[in-house]
């Protein structure tokens, strides 16, 4: 247990590039495989398997783990993960305040598709839901399934309960020490586990504290005019609506939402082989 005061916010250098931030806008999640050292994974597993009388929800809300120095440096302030969070949420992002553990003994059935409660559906990205896998999570251990791009399609958990297999769904199979970041309202569900043993999946949250701006790693050759804004969820939306939604989210993250516009028809941000800068491209963006 730490004796030092736990900071509420954190800052570090961003790591994601324009293209990677745009990919996040398209997919709604980002997987960072094996970024946590084995020793931290081992201690996390041990913590999750131990009874902690002071934990309100026992094994399901092991919030006390946030106070552990080794966990803070290895997971919540993990250099790779924190730099990705910094890229998406800006400087001085707020650190997690609660830890959930989707701890379950396999085998177990899959659960229903849902978006988590208190989602705020919009193009704004003011928080991130983050999952940490302290153990190898192959398909047999029921990794969470996500539907890439589904953060662009508004839904409500109780209206999704009858859904089952969905084209394009991705199981987040990953090695121990992986961390993945998601837009909070991405569609997801627990996968079916056919293996045996306990599966731990820790879930926590970061918040933005500063207005958005394009202060991640800028690429010299990145062009707003020719970037592809299409999303895997295109098939569920009216044609090109995914391009428009992704471009709007990217512009919001750039701190340029006020300039975002859709002039209709063949204008930006639709893809196409145009005769110059696309009509409708916000002023000042190349």
């Amino acid at each position: 247990m730490s004796t030092a005061e736990v900071p509420e916010t954190w800052d570090c250098a961003p790591s994601l590039t324009d293209s990677q931030v745009l990919e996040f806008c398209k997919n709604g999640y980002l997987m960072l495989e094996g970024v946590v050292p084995d020793e931290i994974n081992r201690r996390s597993m041990e913590y999750c398997a131990t009874d902690h009388p002071n934990e309100m929800q026992g094994h399901h809300e092991p919030t006390g783990i946030l106070q552990e120095d080794w966990f803070r440096s290895g997971v919540t302030l993990n250099p790779t993960a924190a730099a990705a969070v910094r890229s998406l949420l800006g400087p001085h992002f707020h650190l997690p305040i609660l830890m959930s553990n989707h701890r379950q003994e396999a085998p177990f059935p899959q659960l229903g598709w849902h978006v988590d409660g208190n989602s705020q559906y919009s193009c704004a990205l003011n928080n991130l839901q983050v999952f940490y896998l302290p153990q190898d999570t192959p398909l047999e251990m029921g990794p969470t399934q996500v539907l890439p791009g589904s953060h662009l399609v508004h839904n409500k958990a109780h209206f999704m309960a009858h859904l089952d297999a969905i084209r394009g769904a991705v199981p987040t199979v990953a090695p121990a020490g992986s961390i993945f970041l998601t837009v909070y309202h991405i569609w997801h569900r627990r996968g079916r586990a056919t293996g045996h043993g306990w599966r731990n999946l820790l879930k926590y949250f970061y918040w933005r504290t500063q207005p958005p701006r394009r202060d991640w790693v800028m690429e010299d050759d990145f062009r707003f005019s020719t970037a592809c804004y299409g999303s895997p969820m295109a098939g569920q939306l009216e044609q090109f609506r995914d391009d428009i939604k992704v471009a709007e989210m990217f512009m919001w993250l750039c701190g340029q939402h006020g300039k975002f516009q859709n002039r209709g028809g063949q204008s930006w941000p639709l893809p196409g082989n145009r005769n110059g800068l696309p009509y409708g491209l916000p002023e000042g963006l190349g």
């Binding site: 508004h154 209206f159 859904l163 089952d164």
Partner: protein, 114 residues
């Protein structure tokens, strides 16, 4: 009846016989339900999602769409399923910017013996 000898009891027995026979037949029949989420209102548009319930039990659907039993609602109809609910056309009034869920859902049924 013409001889005025039919009693109420006999009449009741006659009326109850077909009903109970029918009831016995239905005891062994269950409704199967198939949800198919399509890409458009067309019954031959590609399926984007599916769920199958047979005789009140969920059937595990393959994760791989290539392994789904049908790729369109029309294929399911050709296989004997009956559409009992078509995509809700009122969803056309939902603004494009506020697209909701899977808008193009066909619900089909068939009856099978257990």
């Amino acid at each position: 009846m013409e001889a005025n000898t039919l009693t109420a009891r006999e009449l009741r027995q006659v009326l109850e016989k077909p009903a109970s026979a029918c009831h016995r037949a239905w005891e062994h029949i269950r409704q199967d339900i198939l949800y198919l989420q399509a890409g458009s209102t067309s019954p031959d548009s590609q399926i984007q999602g599916m769920r199958l319930i047979e005789a009140g039990e969920n059937v595990l659907s393959p994760d791989d769409p290539d392994e789904w039993p049908y790729q369109t609602a029309l294929e399911a109809v050709k296989d004997g399923w009956r559409v009992i609910s078509f995509p809700n056309m009122s969803l056309v009034t939902v603004p494009d910017d506020d697209a909701h869920g899977f808008g193009f859902e066909f619900i089909l049924e068939r009856w099978s013996k257990v």
